[in-house]
Symmetry: C2
Subunit: 583 residues, 2 copies
C-alpha cells in the first residue's frame, strides 16, 4: 500500500505516530510562514502543515502544488491547536516532511465542492470530477449500503439471487425494447429486458420458491425529466403465497432498510384501494405526508344556477387550513397554476371561510352565505380555512385537483422529504382502456391475476375487473409494485383474449411461458422496486440521476463517453445492417 | 402462505403436528393398500402416506395424481417405521387427509431426476424443467451463496459496489462488441460492455478508492465449447496500491470463499512467472495438481544424427512415473493423440526406463543405451518411468507438450477436480505480436502498466516488455486476471503508440479516459474473476453452462425463448435500419 492510513481515520490517539497518507489536494492556504493543505480521499480530509521555519524546502514544495494534485505525504501526527469539530480528523494535523507528487492535475473545469460552480452539462461531461464531490459520493455510498442490506434481508428470508439473461426475446407488448442485432443469426435480434418478468415466473415454475435479483432493466422510451434508458430494479418473486404474504414480506424489507439506514421505525403500513386513492387524492400514488383529502360536493354545489358546477360530472375540492387570508394575487396565482397545460383545468373556485365566520367566494353571485356554509360543513372547514374547488369530467378533474393539492402542500411546507408517509395502494384495475388503439392494455402486465371474484366479468365488464396488484407509495412516489400472477393456463389464455390477442399471436409471443404453465406452475406472485428511486427517497432527493454513477441525459446520451456513436462499416456489414436516413 | 412448512424441514421433533405442505409430485408408489407420494420443493422431499383402510377417498384421489402435479396437502406428522437416512426428513412421513391440486401437469419430456433421460437440446428447450432437478438447482444455490460471501468479504474491506452503465461507447480494440442501435440518436449505436474496464478506472480517478461489481459482460465472439455471449465477472479495482496489495487482497477473497463454502484452508498461494509457466508447463495456466514438469534436453539430445532433434529449436519432454510398462498400443494411442489437429505435433519420441534398468526407445537407432541413460538422468527418471519427448519450434512444441502432459495427468487420475492447486501467474508480457495483422496487441488491455524497469525498451524491444499483470489459475483454468494500470498520461500515450495508434485515433477512441487522466489519476490496479467459471470450479464441474440459469447454446441461441428472433418492420423503421442478406 502506498499509505499507512486513509485521510479519514487519524484521531487524537494517533498523535506522535509517523504516517503516510495519499489523496488529492482539496485546498491550500498560505499564511506567510506556514502553508496548510487539506488532503482529501474517499474517507475524509486531513490537514497537512508545512512550516517555513522548520523545513524551508518542503514549505516551498508545498506552495508549488495545485488543486487536485495527487500526493503521497509522510509526516508526524500532531494535536491541532485550532480543532475542527466538523471533521473526523479535526483534532489532528500532519507535520509533513516528505511529499511525493503521484500525479499532477489540470485545473478542474468546476470547483470540487458541494456548492460547485459547474452547470449540469459540464458536470456530466466531467462526471469523474463531479463524483469527487462529497455530496455525490455519499449518494453512491448510500446506494452500496442499501444493496448490502437488501441482500442480507432477502438472503435471510431464503430468497436466492439468480441472474437472468440480458439478451432475450423481443416482445412488442409493453414499452419499446432496445434490440441487439445478432451476428451469428443474421437479421435476427435479441432484446434487452424491460424487466426479468417472464424469467422470474419461469424460475417459480422451476421450483426456486423465492427469487430476487438487483438487476439492470432497459426501456427505449422518450425520456421524461427523471427517466433513464437503463435503470435498476430489486426484482422479487415468491411461490405458494397470497397477496398478503407478498405485502408482509416486502413491508418487512422496507422497514428493515429504514431501521438500519435511518434508525426510523414504522407501524404497519397504511393500505388504500386504488378506488379510494383516486377518489380522495386523484392519484394512484397519493402523497400522504399531509391530509387535504378530496371532498365531493355535488349534492350541495349543484342546482344553484352555476353552470360550471351544474354541467359537471363531478364537483370536488380540498380544504386548505389557515389560508383564508390568501390575497387576491395569491388566489390568481393558483388559478394560473391550474390552467397550466400540465394541470389542464379550466378554472378554480375558491371559498374563504373568514375568521369572522363570514364567507367570501369567487361564486358569490350564485351562492348565498347559507349555501356556502353548507358547503363549508361538507368540507369540515373551520374559520380561517380556504376551500379550493374544481368541476368537470370525473377523472380529469381529480387529476387536476391532485396537482393543486400537491402545490398547496408544497406552499405550506407540508412535504418535508425526510417525513416519510408510506402506503400500499391495492386492488388496481386489471385492464386499462386505450383510446388511441381502441383496445384494453394490461395495467401492470399480461401475467397479473384478476381477483377471483371479478374473473366472471372479465369479458362482460373488463374495465371493472380488479387485479391482485399493488404498489408501494412513499411520499407520493411509486417505489415499487407487483401482483399475484396467473398460474392457470386457462386464465392466462382468457387474459390474452381480453387483451385482443388471437391464440396464434399469444402463442407466438408468449408461447414458451404458456407452455411452461402446462407443466405444473405453482401459485406465485412478487414485485419489483425501483432501486434508483428508493435510493433517492432515502436521501430525501428528487432526482434519480444523482444516484447513478454514470447517468445519461434526456436524449439518452452519455456526455462523458460521447455514446451512442457511429460504428464502423465493417461492424455494420458483419451484422448485415444498412443505415437509413431519418424521415 | 399456502403452507405451514416446507418439504425439507420436518423432523422427528414435529411428530404429532398438523401441517400443510406444498410441492411437486416427485414420484408415487402404490403398495396395494397404501400409496406413498414423494412431495418435492426446493428445500427437500417429504413422504406422504395414503392408506385405503383409514381413508379410502383420499387414497383413491392420491392414486389419480401424476408426476409434477402441484399439490397442497394437509395431514399429521408421524414417525416412519422405515427411516431414510439420505433425506433430512427421512425420519417422518405425513398421514394426509386433504389434497388440494393447485395445478395439473403434462408428463414432462424427460425425467426430473439427477440421472435424467433428457438430452442437451431437450433440456435447454425445457430449461424450467431441467432446473427442477436437484443437481442443477444446487449449482445455482452455490452461485447464490458465493455471491453473498464475495459481497460480504469485499464490503468488509471497504469496497463499494457501484453499478456501471450497460449502454456504452463501442471501442474496436479487443473482442467484438454487441451493439445496440439508438432510436433517439438515429444511425448511432451503443455497445454492451465487454467489461467495465474504463468505467472502473474512471471511478478510481473519481476517488472511490475501492470498487467492485458482480456484473454481466458481453462478447460477440464465435462461441467455443464453453463460452457464453453473456457472462458474469467479479470486477474489482483499488487505488494507491502496488501489485503485491492486489494479489494479497484477492488471495484473501479466494481463501475466504474456500474456507466458508468448502471448509478448506490454503497456505500462501504459489507464484510463477509467465516465463516459467511457459517453460515448465507450456501454458500460462498450468495445471499444478500434478508435477510432470517439462525438461529441456537439447544439450544431450542433439548431435546424435536424429534429424528431428538436430533441426529443432527445442527438444523437450516429460517424465511419466511408472509408465514404462505402457504397451505398444498405448504408445501408439499417445502418438495419435499428439498428431490430432488440436494438439498439432508431428510425432512423439518415447524412452522407457525399464525396471531392469535397460532402456527401450523409439529412437534406438540413433541413441545408445548410454545416450539414453544420460537423457534419463536429465529427466531424473527412475526405473519404471516413461519419458515422452517432442521437438520443433519452441512455442508450438511447448503448447503441444502441454496437451500431452494434461492427457497423461488425466490417464493417471491426477486431475481430481476437488484437489485444488492454485497459483498466481505473474509478469505477463505487455504486448503480443499478431502475425495476421502484423502489429502488436495488448496482451491484457491497453491500460496495463509496463514494469517500470522494462519501460525504457518499449519501442526498441516491445516483445520483451513485461507487464505488472497477473492471472489466478486454479487446476489449469484461468479464473481471474488483472494488472496495475497506467495512471500517467505520457506512459498511456506511449502505450497507444506502441500499439500502432495515431494520437488522433487514440484520442477518438479513448479520449475521455486519457482526458480524465490529466485531472489527477491515482496509481491504481485491479482484477476481474470469471464468476461462472469460479462457480464451476467450486462444484468440481467442467462446464460453466450448468451454473447459468438460462444459458445460450453454441450459436448464441436461447432454445427455450427462441431468441434471437425477427423484429417488426415498425421496430426497424424506428431504428432507421434496413436488413441486408448475408453474403
Amino acid at each position: 500500500m502506498l499509505r499507512t492510513h486513509n485521510c479519514g481515520e487519524l484521531t487524537i490517539k494517533d498523535c506522535g505516530k509517523r504516517v503516510t497518507l495519499c489523496g488529492w489536494l482539496q485546498r491550500s492556504r498560505d499564511l506567510g510562514s506556514m502553508t496548510f493543505i487539506d488532503l482529501r480521499d474517499r474517507y475524509g480530509i486531513t490537514q497537512l502543515v508545512f512550516n517555513t521555519d522548520t523545513n524551508k524546502d518542503i514549505y516551498n514544495q508545498a506552495k508549488s502544488l495545485s488543486r487536485e494534485y495527487v500526493l503521497q505525504v509522510e509526516g508526524e501526527v500532531k494535536e491541532r491547536s485550532n480543532k475542527n469539530k466538523n471533521l473526523s480528523t479535526g483534532d489532528i494535523e500532519i507535520i509533513v516532511d516528505k511529499i511525493n507528487v503521484l500525479n499532477t492535475a489540470q485545473i478542474p473545469p468546476f470547483t470540487i465542492e458541494d456548492n460547485t460552480d459547474g452547470g449540469d452539462e459540464l458536470r456530466m461531461k466531467y462526471r469523474y470530477l463531479d463524483l469527487r464531490r462529497a455530496c455525490v459520493r455519499k449518494n453512491l455510498e448510500l446506494r452500496h449500503r442499501l444493496s448490502i442490506l437488501i441482500r442480507n434481508y432477502l438472503n435471510n428470508k431464503d430468497f436466492l439471487e439468480i441472474e437472468t439473461p440480458f439478451l432475450i426475446r423481443s416482445t412488442p407488448e409493453g414499452a419499446r425494447d432496445f434490440v441487439v442485432p445478432s451476428r451469428m443469426n443474421p437479421n435476427e435480434f435479441y432484446a434487452l429486458p424491460q424487466s426479468p418478468q417472464q424469467y422470474k415466473q419461469l424460475l417459480m415454475v422451476a421450483g426456486f420458491d423465492r427469487y430476487f435479483q438487483i438487476v439492470r432493466c432497459f426501456r427505449d422510451e422518450d425520456l421524461r425529466a427523471d427517466r433513464q434508458p437503463e435503470f435498476t430494479q430489486i426484482d422479487c418473486e415468491m411461490s405458494f403465497v397470497e397477496q398478503e404474504d407478498v405485502l408482509n414480506t416486502f413491508e418487512g424489507l422496507i422497514k428493515y432498510l429504514f431501521k438500519e439506514e435511518k434508525h426510523l421505525e414504522f407501524p404497519k403500513f397504511n393500505r388504500m384501494t386504488w378506488q379510494d386513492a383516486m377518489k380522495y387524492y386523484g392519484s394512484d400514488k397519493p402523497d400522504l405526508r399531509f391530509d387535504m383529502k378530496f371532498v365531493e360536493i355535488d349534492d350541495v354545489a349543484k342546482g344553484k344556477g352555476f353552470k360550471v358546477f351544474d354541467d359537471a360530472e363531478i364537483v370536488v375540492g380540498i380544504c386548505v387550513q389557515g389560508c383564508a387570508s390568501y390575497t387576491r394575487k395569491q388566489l390568481d396565482e393558483l388559478t394560473e397554476f391550474v390552467k397550466k397545460p400540465q394541470v389542464g383545468a379550466n378554472g378554480l373556485v375558491y371559498i374563504k371561510y373568514n375568521e369572522d365566520k363570514t364567507f367570501k367566494s369567487s361564486v358569490d353571485k350564485f351562492f348565498s352565505q347559507d349555501d356556502l356554509k353548507v358547503i363549508a360543513e361538507k368540507f369540515d372547514a373551520k374559520p380561517g380555512d380556504l376551500m379550493l374547488i374544481m368541476a368537470g369530467k370525473k377523472m380529469k378533474t381529480r387529476i387536476s385537483l391532485c396537482s393543486l393539492r400537491l402545490e398547496m402542500g408544497s406552499r405550506l411546507n407540508l412535504r418535508n422529504p425526510f417525513n416519510y408517509a408510506i402506503t400500499w395502494v391495492v386492488d388496481f384495475p386489471l385492464l386499462e382502456w386505450n383510446e388511441e388503439d381502441q383496445r384494453y392494455y394490461a395495467m401492470h402486465h399480461p401475467f397479473t391475476a384478476p381477483k377471483p371474484e371479478d374473473y366472471p366479468i372479465l369479458f362482460t365488464k373488463p374495465g371493472e375487473v380488479r387485479a391482485n396488484a399493488y404498489d408501494l407509495v412513499i411520499n407520493g412516489t411509486e417505489v415499487g409494485g407487483g401482483s399475484i400472477r396467473i398460474h392457470d393456463k386457462k386464465v392466462q389464455a382468457d387474459m390474452f383474449k381480453a387483451l385482443g390477442f388471437t391464440p396464434e399471436k399469444a402463442q407466438e409471443q408468449f408461447g414458451f411461458l404458456m407452455n411452461a404453465f402446462t407443466y405444473g406452475a405453482p401459485p406465485h406472485g412478487g414485485l419489483a422496486f425501483g432501486f434508483d428511486r428508493l435510493c433517492a427517497i432515502f436521501a430525501g432527493a428528487d432526482t434519480i440521476r444523482d444516484f447513478i454513477a454514470f447517468p445519461k441525459n434526456n436524449s439518452g446520451r452519455d456526455l462523458m463517453a460521447d455514446a451512442p456513436s457511429m460504428i464502423s462499416q465493417q461492424q455494420l456489414d458483419e451484422l448485415c445492417l444498412d443505415l437509413k436516413k431519418k424521415d
